[in-house]
Each structure stands twice: as C-alpha cells, then as structure tokens.
C-alpha cells in the first residue's frame, strides 16, 4: 500500500534532507522544528494499460464510443502532447504511444486513409526525430513520419486558421489540419493539474496570437495557482477558447495519468525519504554527490539527461473534454496531493536539473526561475505554503549557461530585458511583440529546434506570482552575478540564507522544506 504524502517535523533524530542542486545534490540539516513535506509514494500502476485504453475508448465519458465516430473517408487527426512531459522522459513505451497505437488500429479497421498525427507543441521547440520516435514508438514513426506525422508550427501562415473570439475577446487560432478535420483525437499525458483539458488544444495547436490571450502577466498574476484550475485565470481563459474550438471541430479527448515514479533504480535515493534510505541508497547518494561535485557541467548533464523514468500509467479516460479532465484531475490529485496545515515564514526547495523546457539542454537562469519560482512554488491549492511576505530559499548553481539551439531568445531576454527591468508587466509592454515577431527567432522556431521567441517571457511570468508573494528570494550556492541580474539575493550556505531571511521575517521563523521532485501538490489549510 503506497504511503500518502507526509509532513515531518524535524527533531534531533531527523537525518539531513536531500536538496536538488541543478545537476547535483546536497544534504542539508534542517533547523529543529522545521517541517519537511514529502510527496506520496508512487501509486500502483494499472497492470494492463492496453486493456485499460481499449476500455476507455470503448466506454467514453459523455461521448459515443470512439469506434462509432470513425468512418471510411473521414479526415482524422490525432494530436498529442510534446516531450515537455513527463519529466524525466518516460521509459519506453510512452503511454501516448500505447494510446495512439490503439486509436490507429481502430482507424485502420474503419478504413480511414486520411490520418495525420500532429505533435501539439504550441510554441515549444520542435522535437528531434529521436525524441519524436521515443514518444510515438518505432511503428508509428516508421509508418507516418514525415508526411503524416509532423509537428505543429504556430508560425506557419498557411497552416493556422483564425477561429474567432471568445465572449471575453480572446482570439482563437487553430492548426489548419485540425480545424478542417472531421474529428480530432487529442492524446494527452497529464502529470500535473495545470495540463490537459481545454488547455491541450488551445495552447498545443495554437499560435502566438491565440496563446497571448492567457500567457500574459495579468492572467498569471490572477492564477492562484495555475496548478489548481478552478482558481486559475489561465485555465478559465483556456476553457473559453477550448469551447470555441469545440464549436469548430469535433474533439475526442483521451487523457492519461502516470504515477510519480520519477527516478529509475540508480537514482532511487531521490525517490525515497531519507529515513528509508538503504545502505545501497546511501552509497548511490555518495557516488552521485562525488561525481557531480567534480565533473564538468556538460558531463553531468549528459548523465542526468540520459535518465528514463519508470512511470506507470494510473488512469486513462476518454470522451468529452470536460468530463474526461475532471476524472484526470482526480487521478492526478490522488497521486500528488499532500495535506499541509498552515503556511510558514520560510520555504526551502532544491531546483533540480530538469524542467519542462530544458530536455537535453542546460537549465538556463530564466528556466531556473521558471522551475523554482514558477512550477515548484505554485504546486499548491488554497494558499501557498509560504506566507505572504515570507522568504523563499532555493538551491541551484544558476550559472550563466544557455543552449544556443534551444534557447536563443532566452539569451537576449536575459542580457537585454532583465538588464532593463524585472517587472513582468513592464516587460510585456515593452518587449512582448519584439520577441514574438523577431524574424530570426521565428525562423529558428520553425526550422531548427528553438523555443519560440516569446517563450522566455512566458518562463519569466510563470514566476510572477511567486515574485509578488515572497518578501525575499534567496538562492544558495548560485553565481552571484546571475542571481543579481535576476533580481534576487545570493547566499553561500543554507545557514547564511536562514540568517539573511531572518532580517525579513524576524527571529525564530517557521520553516518548511518541500522535498520535491517527485511532484506533489500541497493542499494548504
């Protein structure tokens, strides 16, 4: 029986706790009385995923069985989530592959010839062929790529159509092939509550014109948090857009969830609570620490990015998007929810080597902010674990390190925009269009493997709520120049950071450490 998440109070017998530190790890002794929040253990996966998938599409939620929707001569499109999820990438076979194989077999039985498969990457980078193959599997790749398996291009003037405006004036565009299909089947993998539902289509198959309606500072500041859709202006906007899309094209959603078995056996110590570490786990920790302390960043990155996670599928639902997504969120919460009582003055967390936007690339400083102050801070329901005006302490080396192929516009954003201002709203006013419409960024997004020109802004505003909420933000062990450019404070050790934090929150502060990843969602009462 997997254990639920836990809140442990630090006493004299509590061992030092693991902090992720980019491509490294640290053990830190937490002060007496501090809380450590651990994610739940991985749920038992479904024993026979293929059978569960068959069952889901045969008995969908608030929709007809998929088989009845398929007919000879129809134009069918399958869209699927890109490699930004799950993290780390899933060991083959990816659940999206399993779902798509099932759907494709069913379409073949129905005699459908006109079938296209589109990676719904929105304004994310194009995947390499190997990355694409990893998600869809060899059989689909060999059969459909490149003519009928390809990646959405949000900047292709010929292949995006204007759908209309929502009642709130949000413009909606959609991939032309999807818009002109008789049926779009969206195959999703939901790891966190932010993903899935209407957001899949309204970001994955959209263009900047459409996405800017909700990917903006004002909306993000009104999303508290975007990990809890009912309280998220981001999701309200996506839902409005998604409903307009549903008026345009027939959509059938298939959403899957996986457990939080995020680390393979060699990194088992990252998965487990320190009190549960075996001698082998301790040895692996020491070996990892030794290796990461002395190896150059590029070497460490290669080792870490080669990890594939043994995620197991925990749920699959199909049918009408809202009905499906409600069930999906239920399954996600079952895996990642942790009940937490009250907020604290200080929250500590270790930022790991990987976020959704740096697969096979270094986590550049803006992505560190996105991961730490964006995703990890926002993993809450009701209230943040950190009290308003409290201090957030993060560990990450935060080097000036950018991948010129994946993140070209991030370099300019860091060097030019953040040198000018850190204010998300001011940045948006001054720079949004310039980054979005820069012809070179546009070309690199379309033809190379670069994130869209506007993407660094999205990564930055993902942290807007945390930046507004926290009284101070301190990075431990980071490059000082970089941290100052980001507008935060820097400490050499965790002890120093606590001392600095006391100047903001007073003496004897309450402290909580979020021991994540694996992912957890703190339900703060």
């Amino acid at each position: 029986m997997p254990r639920p998440g836990a809140v442990i109070e630090v006493d004299r017998n509590t061992p030092p706790v693991l902090f992720h530190f980019g491509e490294g790890v640290r053990l830190e002794k937490m002060p007496l009385g501090a809380r450590i929040i651990y994610p739940p253990d991985p749920l038992e996966p479904i024993a026979h995923p293929e059978r569960a998938i068959k069952r889901a599409i045969a008995k969908p939620l608030e929709d007809d069985p998929l088989k009845s929707l398929l007919r000879r001569g129809m134009k069918l499109t399958i869209a699927f989530d890109d490699l930004s999820l799950p993290l780390p990438p899933m060991a083959a076979p990816d659940v999206r592959q399993l779902v798509m194989e099932e759907v494709i077999d069913m379409a073949a039985e129905a005699g459908i010839d006109d079938l296209h498969i589109i990676a719904a990457l929105g304004l994310h980078r194009r995947m390499t062929e190997d990355e694409l193959r990893h998600i869809v599997g060899e059989r689909i790749f060999a059969t459909f790529h490149p003519d009928r398996l390809y990646q959405h291009d949000g900047e292709d003037p010929d292949n995006n159509v204007y759908v209309g405006k929502t009642a709130q004036g949000e413009e909606v565009t959609l991939n032309r092939r999807a818009a002109e299909s008789d049926l779009v089947i969206y195959v999703n993998l939901t790891l966190v509550p932010m993903d899935g539902g209407h957001k899949s289509m309204s970001t994955g198959l959209a263009s900047f014109r459409s996405i800017r309606a909700h990917h903006n500072a004002k909306t993000l500041l009104a999303s508290r948090s975007y990990m809890n859709p009912p309280d998220s202006a981001l999701h309200h906007s996506c839902i409005r857009q998604g409903q307009l899309i549903e008026d345009t094209v027939r959509v059938f959603h298939i959403e899957t969830t996986v457990n939080n078995h995020a680390f393979p056996a060699v990194a088992n110590f990252m998965q487990k609570r320190e009190t549960d570490w075996t001698a082998q786990d301790q040895a692996m920790f020491l070996a990892t620490k030794q290796m990461t302390d002395i190896m150059p960043p590029a070497f460490k990155r290669n080792v870490f990015h080669a990890l594939r996670s043994p995620y197991g599928m925990t749920a699959v639902h199909a049918g009408q998007v809202d009905a499906v997504h409600d069930k999906t969120l239920e399954a996600v919460r079952k895996q990642i929810n942790v009940q937490v009582e009250g907020q604290t003055d200080i929250v500590t967390l270790g930022v790991p080597y990987l976020g959704p936007y740096n697969i096979n690339a270094p986590m550049n400083p803006i992505l560190v902010v996105c991961m730490g102050l964006g995703y990890l801070f926002n993993f809450y329901r009701n209230k943040p674990v950190l009290r308003k005006g409290g201090v957030l302490i993060l560990t990450h080396p935060c080097r000036y390190e950018f991948d010129a192929v994946q993140h070209p516009s991030y370099i300019d954003y860091y060097d030019e925009v953040l040198a000018d201002t850190k204010d998300p709203i001011e940045i948006e006013e001054k720079y949004e269009v310039r980054f979005a419409e820069d012809p070179w960024f546009r070309q690199l997004y379309r033809k190379s493997h670069a994130y869209h020109g506007i993407h660094p802004h999205y990564a930055w505003i993902w942290a807007a709520h945390a930046m507004e909420h926290a009284g101070d933000i301190i990075f431990v062990g980071a490059d000082r120049d970089v941290v100052h450019r980001l507008g935060f404070k820097c400490a050499t050790t965790l002890e120093d950071a606590f001392e600095m934090a006391e100047q903001t929150v007073g003496r004897y502060p309450s402290v909580t450490h979020l021991r994540t990843p694996p992912i957890m969602l703190c339900d703060v009462e």
């Binding site: 370099i411 300019d412 060097d415 820069d438 070179w440």
Partner: protein, 362 residues
C-alpha cells in the same frame, strides 16, 4: 627609436609661421603604433625623420593666446598655390603635395622633421593651423579637440540617418569621441558601442551610446538590436541584416573582420581607427556590397556648408566634458611610464594619456 634629448628649436619655415609652446600634448594610438613598430609601412615615405612626435596639442603662442593645432600639412600650410584638387575641396588630409614646399615631407605636425611636435617645448605652425581655444575649455579638454575633429569628420563621412542602427566598435579615445560625434551630428535610431573595459563602457554611455556591448557578445547583441539573422561560420558568425553604419575604431583584424560581418548588406563601414597591415576577409565586403570608407583627419565639411571640422569640434566640446577623458598626465621625463600607461590605458581605466608641458615652463 624614441629618445628624450635636446634638439635645436625648429626654425620658422616661412613668413607668417608662429611658435607654439605646448601646454598639454596627447599620446595618440598612431604614436603608440609607431613606437611599438605596428604602424603600417605605407606611412613611412610620408614621414620625414627625425621628428618630434605629438599632434594632439593645446599650447600657447608667444603672445599667450591659447590655441589648438590642426596638424594636417596640406597645400595652404606649405604655401603652394594653386592648391591641389583635394586641398581645394577643403581636404588637406588628402593633399598630394605633402613632399613639397618649405618643410620636409610629412602628413602632419608630429610626423615632419621641420615642424617639431607636441612632445617638445616648441613647435612651429602655419597660421591656418592654429585655432584659439575658448576660455571655458581647459587644457585637459582642449587636448582632445584634434581627435574629436577626426571623429566629427568620421561621423559626417558615415552619414547615419535617424532611422539607422549604428555601431561604434572600440571605446578608446577615437571610439568614445566617435560615439559623442555621431550622437551629436548624425543622431541615429540606436547607437551601440562595443567596449572591452568597464570604464570605457561607462564613458560610452555618458557620451551617448544607447547600448554598450562586450566584444564577445557583439553578434548576439547586434543581431537582436537589428532583428537580423545569425549564421554560424567556420571561424566566426555572420549576420544576415545587421548594423546600417559601423565605425571601426580599433583598426585590428579581429574587429575589422567582425565589422564586415555584422554590418548589413549594402551598409557602410567607416575605418576611423588607424589600421596597420591587417588580414581582413574581403568576401563579406564583396558579397554584401559594403561601402568601406576611410575617415582620416579633417578639413571643411560639405555636409555642414563647408565649415571647418575643427570649428565644429571647438563648438561642440564645451558640452562634452572632455576633461573627464584626459589623464593621467606625465612629464616628458616620465615618457617611458607615460607610454607604458598609454599602451594599457583601457585596462587601467584611462582614455587619453598625455604629457603636461606646463610644468617645464613653470
């Protein structure tokens, strides 16, 4: 070979010439190139030896009038009438009579055996070469009038418009004064300076640069500023698109090769800093149909109704706080230290290292 010693005072070569007693005399990049042996041999036959260096000079006439020297030794200075076509156009820096007249061969005071130079106690000058200095301009500021005039001339040669994105490569004396001159005389849409050292970067901003970038970031920054496209070459990147006008104020191969790759197709590269014999890839110049133009010295500016560059510089100088750029000052006896300092000026946080000759007279 550079030597400190007593030499006979230069004789007045013709009637009307005047004696000038230097107050402050700058050490120019061209002086350093000559001393260190990096100067182009092209200039050798245009120079007469031995000479007293120093062409950035503020000094005093016998009657005490403070003046700056316009060093070009063209037809008027040499008493040649009618003047050569270039001098007739008001471009004495391009004079082809620099071997003629009552003085020895030489392009400028400070490179001519008969005129003396700023690094001595006395030099001689034709009346057309001397420009009175306003009371409000200190010697430390006035010593920069000559290089400022060069830069004003360069700015006008570059002819940037208000829609242009301009890059000034290099932030030594010439680079910084070019920034100031471009900002004042041909203000562009955006002025980007390339500066290696922190002090240079600060000064470039003060003098009017909208943005200052490090040499290592040149392609990244200029690409973004111009919304160009960047391609990675085998040896260095290139931009498709780029700066409209580039003022190259370094004169070294690296900087020149960068300039012709980040200046847009059909754009203009103005060579302002004195180059030597540098290896430059001409392919970008050819393929991008660049206009590569030199900007040497000064004269009369057709784009300013024929007004003399020196007058334009003297008018502009009081607002520029040029004295902030001058120093440290050395005595002639400290010439080794002075030159060593000037060789590393940027790294040491200095711009214009100069000799202070007022102490000699005191």
């Amino acid at each position: 070979m550079l030597k400190l010693g007593d030499v006979p005072e230069p004789e007045l070569p013709a009637a009307g010439w005047v004696r000038v007693m230097p107050n402050v005399s700058g050490i120019c990049g061209s002086d350093l190139a000559a001393i260190s042996g990096h100067v182009s041999l092209y200039l050798d036959p245009l120079t007469s030896y031995p000479f007293v260096p120093g062409h950035e000079v503020v000094g005093a006439l016998d009657d005490g009038t403070r003046v700056v020297i316009e060093p070009a030794l063209g037809c008027i200075v040499r008493g040649i009438d009618p003047p050569c076509p270039r001098c007739a156009e008001g471009r004495p820096g391009l004079c082809y009579n620099v071997t003629e007249g009552p003085i020895e061969v030489g392009l400028q005071t400070g490179y001519c055996a008969d005129t003396g130079g700023g690094w001595g106690e006395v030099l001689v000058a034709h009346p057309s070469q001397v420009h009175p200095v306003p009371e409000t301009l200190s010697d430390e500021a006035a010593v920069l009038i000559e290089p400022l005039a060069c830069c004003v001339h360069a700015a006008l040669r570059g002819g940037a418009t208000k829609d242009d994105i301009v890059v000034v490569s290099g932030a030594g004396t010439i680079g910084l004064l070019t920034v100031a001159a471009v900002k004042l005389f041909t203000p562009p849409k955006r002025l980007i300076a390339i500066a290696k050292h922190p002090t240079q970067a600060d000064l470039a901003r003060k003098l009017g640069a909208d943005q200052v970038v490090k040499p290592a970031d040149v392609f990244q920054r200029i690409r973004f500023a111009t919304a160009a496209r960047r391609l990675e070459g085998m040896n260095r990147p290139l931009l498709l698109g780029g700066a409209d006008v580039t003022f190259e104020c370094v004169g070294r191969a690296d900087s020149l090769n960068d300039a012709v790759r980040f200046t847009r197709e059909g754009g203009t590269v103005v060579a302002v800093g004195m180059p030597g014999e540098e290896k430059v890839d001409w392919a970008p110049i050819w393929q991008r149909e660049l206009t590569v133009t030199g900007a040497y010295a000064y004269g009369a500016e057709p784009k300013r109704k024929g007004r003399k560059t020196f007058d334009l510089a003297l008018e502009a100088a009081p607002e520029m706080h040029l004295e902030d750029l001058t120093g440290p000052l050395f005595g002639l006896g400290e010439y080794r230290d002075a030159i060593a300092y000037a060789m590393s000026a940027g790294r040491l946080g200095a711009v214009k290292v100069a000799f202070d000759l007022r102490r000699l007279r005191a």
